[in-house]
Every structure is written in C-alpha cells, then in structure tokens.
Symmetry: C2
Subunit: 322 residues, 2 copies
C-alpha cells in the first residue's frame, strides 16, 4: 500500500454526526428484487429489452435513484447488498457503482454489503477496490465510492488487516461478521471453543482490532455485524465490544421486532444502526397499503414504512446524549 | 429456484475427464497484476488511456486471452480470483466475464474464486449469479459462465445449500473453504471445539453435504479448499473427506513444494487440483529467465513454468488409475 500522508476524518464520527442530523439510526438496504420493482419504471426502459442485463441494470438504477430521492430527508445511511447486483453481471455492477455515486451526491453514508474475506494479497485487492484506491500507470482511481463494507473474518487477522489499514488511511469503516441473522448461524458461529462460543471469540478480536480506530465520540470505525434475530447474543456481544458500532440486519422481513433490538444500544443512545430492506422498499406491496392507496404511491409507502420504523425504534432506544 | 427438468453431467466427472485428457491437475490462476503485464500489451490499448478502468480492463482481457492460448494445450483448468477484477470496477468485472467466456470457448474448466457466503436469500442470488441463471421478465440469462466457485462456510448449512442446489441442477461445482493457506488461518480455523479443530468440523460437514453429488468416478461436486502450506492438516483432511475434490492453493509463490502436496491425492492418483498463479503468469520476470531469453518470450516462460510444475507434481502423485 502507498504511504498515507493525509489521515481522513474517522468513519464512526461521520456516522454519528449523520445519525444526529437525521435523528435516525435506520439503514435502508437497497437490495433490488427485479420482480418487485414497479412496472412504471420498467416501462421507461422498454427500448432496452433486447439486452436483458442492460435493461435490468437501468431499471434497478432508476428505482434506486427514486427511492433515494424519496427517503433521503428521513435517513442518513444506505446499504447495498452486492449479490443482488452481481446477479445481473457486469451491467449489474455498473448499477451498483452508479447507485453508490448517486447516494454519495445526496450526502448519504453508503455501506457496501460485500462480506469479502481472503488471503492477505487478495484481501489487499478487495480493500483497495471497495474502500481504497488503485493505481493504473500514473492514475489513481477509485473502483467503488462506498464509505464502509462488511467483511468475513474466517481467515483471521492477516485477512482483515488490509481493510483496517484502508479504513485508517481513507476514513472508511469496516463491519466484521460476528453473529449472522440466519438460522444456520448456530452451526459454526455458536460452537463452544474453550468455554466460549466462536462468535464471542471473534467479537473479542473485533474489539481488539478496533482499538486503534476509536474516534472523538468513543466509537471505533471497526464495527460488527450482529443479527437482530438472536436478542440474547446481542446482550453479550454489546458488552464484549463496547466501542464497536453494530450493524444489525434481521429487522422486518426476517422477523425481529424493535423490542428485540433494545440491547444493541449503549446508554448514550448510540452504538447500533438497524437495517431493513424489503419491508421498506416494497412496502407498497402490502395488501393493507396496495388495496387502500394503489401501486402508484410506492414512494409514499416507503416513506411511511421508514417513519414507522423510526418511531418503533425510538420507543426502545435510550435518548441520544452525545 | 425454478423447477429443474434436465439434470446435467456431474461436475466432478467433467473435472476428471479433463484431467485425464490433459494429463495434468494444474490449475492456472488468472490473477491479473497490472504492473506485471508485459508492456507490449499495454501499448496496444494506449488510445484508451483517458478512461483508466476501460484501459486496464482491456489490457487484462488481452493478457488473459494470450495466456489462455499459450497454456490451453498443457492445462485443463483455470481459476479467476475476482478480487483482482473488482479492483477495476465494473469494467474489471466485464474483463472477468469475457475471460470466462474465452476460456470456456477453448474448452477449459473455469473456477470463479469468489469465496461468497451470506444468509439464504442472498446466497440464492450469489448462486444464481455465479453458477446458475437469472430470470429477467421472460428471459433466462447467465451472469457468469463459471463451472465452479469457491464459497465461505462461516454462515453454516443454509448459506451453502443454494450453491449445492445449483451445482445439482446445472452440473456445477462448489469448493468450500476448509483450511486456508494464509498464516492467520490458525487463528479461528484451528480453534479446538469439542476436541476437534474448527476446520475439521467444517470438513466433516463438507463430506456430508457432498454425499448427494457423487459422480461416476466416486468423487463429489462439492469439494474443499485446503492450503498447500499446512501439509499435516492435508493428511487429516484428505481422510475426513475421501470423496471431496481438493482445490489446493499455496504452491509456488506462497512457498509450498510438490512434496508438500503428496498427501492431497488418493491412491487412485486423483482427488486434488493444484493452483499456481503468479509463478506461472509472470515467470518471464524471474531473473534466470528474463536475463537469458528477454521479456518478449513471456508466453514461452509461462509454458515452461507449467511443464516444470506438471513434472514436479507427477513425481509425487500416485499413478492415475481411473
């Protein structure tokens, strides 16, 4: 990696000022499900029909732009699950890139949910692609403008270090998988190793790795992914990683409620951001909404879902006092 | 996933007939390192200089095509590490896509080294992207034509199942990370859980997951990644997963020798494929070669490196008898 001369603003500080400004810790997951995107947007790109991937990529990008415009006053953070873009090949990755650029223009913090993890020489390439820079002859370029990404820790410290180095150098954030939200996460992540669960051993390492990147508010730019679907584990993990920002998936479509999330937060009212994807983006599809207001009000449905989610969460989050 | 009507030829059977045909279990890793690509190729695309990513993507694709042409008579399998393509943004993924297409045209088996792993709904998207199909309105499309991919098992069975289902439906292969080649793989993968190392517990699951996809030669399409750098672990893992094909990185640039690899193979002379990347692609850069033959012989250097690797391995591999 090149020598770093200008150290950038700490990611966790940016995250906290954004949460303060928008009065919301909601992360909207921009996970395109092509079938669920309103037909009016698909109609606009009918002329691209011959190239299915180009057509899909343009439809997805336009949907994302309109959702970002609708939700930007209400939220400060979006997360893109890259799998739903890889599904449409390189054109899908073009839509991923342009969505990030658009969200950044609108002042949003963008998390790339890529869950990358590999041996050190490869991890450097991933880190430079997603939260860094690449040198091509004498040009310094940026592949993806994401502010933070998720990473998989199975390969250990030397596989995480390139991401931590880039987080430090470029003011970026890293969320390391600790305990994931799926049912099978118990299979390996809950194995008992020397009287601790594997995910607790990983959590101790995340806390240790994060120490060098603690910002002005006491939080680190090295955070953790902890599934909302395991409330008892959240309680333990919150204590084991007091300065880690927790990225919490599983609210809404995956079944966790706002009350399940109360243990994610520290007594200062900070420390967690809560993701919801399908339950926001496609809220217009709920019979209760569709039958009453019609499909053409899909943006209003998404806004309404975010407002309701903010209200739900605020009932259980300690008052913010930083 | 759509109902599958035509079950395809088992991936492990295709792998074995390819190894027989080429008399080689070498996998060449097409991992572009832009700085190491010969200047003559870069010159060809000088006119694209204004768009650094387009320029880099074209240079990489052309390099890959020439390497494939040079090595195709000697080897049957290539592996693309996608990180080195993501580094160049969506244009890099275009080069990844086109390289796969070119290698397939030349009859090679292509492994996408993507190490994906996520919750079930997301794992389905990854599986459909890399070893499956996607439906866009009424069109069935393929994002990437890879024959097999690598996956990360940290999230457990429900995160692996979508890949296994696609392997079964489309005649594809899956290599699950068991023990990686990097120094820090000891950190979590070697943790003792109920008197077994974590990577051994994962290996038992890989063996179990693979049972339903065993082909005519007795090998499964669900294989495992095992680093060449841990010869003692290879011995144990080979016995724990007798029908799994092992994808072995770490030979060459990472320091493992042909002798370190003898335990990868079963007594039938099959059961492992051995990857080398930098030591083949950029063999022309070795002082011993460059000083004697000059840089313009870079393809000959790569061919020479593959022939030497084949010879080295064949000294330690039991005679093939399937």
């Amino acid at each position: 990696m090149a020598t770093i001369t200008n150290r950038k603003e700490n990611f966790s500080d940016k995250l906290i000022t954004t949460i303060q400004k928008k009065n919301s810790c909601v992360v909207v997951g921009l996970d395109p499900h092509f079938d669920l995107i309103p037909g009016t947007i698909k109609e606009t790109f009918r002329n691209l029909h011959d190239d299915a991937f180009k057509y899909a990529a343009n439809v997805i990008l336009e949907f994302n732009k309109q959702i970002i415009d609708a939700l930007e006053p209400l939220i400060g953070i979006v997360k893109l699950q890259i799998a739903f873009y890889e599904l449409y090949g390189w054109q899908g990755i073009w839509a991923y890139t342009e969505t990030i650029n658009y969200a950044k223009q609108k002042g949003l913090i963008v998390i790339g949910d890529v869950k990358r993890g590999d041996v050190p020489s490869t991890a450097i390439a991933y880190a430079n692609a997603h939260i860094g820079k690449v040198l091509i002859n004498n040009y310094t370029e940026t592949a993806f403008q994401s502010d933070a990404i998720t990473v998989n820790p199975l390969l250990g410290m030397d596989s995480i270090l390139p991401f931590i180095k880039n987080a430090e150098a470029y003011g970026k954030g890293v969320f390391v998988l600790a305990k994931t939200s799926n049912p099978s996460s118990v299979e390996f992540q809950d194995l008992l190793c020397n009287s601790k669960k594997l995910h607790q051993i990983i959590a101790e390492k995340i806390h240790e790795w994060g120490n060098r990147l603690v910002g002005n508010y006491g939080y680190s730019s090295i955070g953790a992914v902890v599934g909302a679907t395991y409330p008892e584990d959240i309680l333990t993990l919150r204590k084991m990683m007091p300065s880690a920002y927790l990225l919490i998936p599983g609210y809404g479509a995956q079944g966790a409620t706002a009350e399940d999330l109360k243990n994610c937060f520290n007594s200062d009212g900070y420390g967690a951001i809560i993701n919801a994807s399908r339950s926001i983006l496609y809220a217009y599809n709920n019979p209760g909404w569709k039958d009453k207001y019609g499909i053409h009000t899909w943006k209003k449905a998404a806004q309404h879902a975010v407002i309701k989610m903010n209200e739900d969460l605020n009932k259980f989050i300690p008052a913010r006092n930083l």
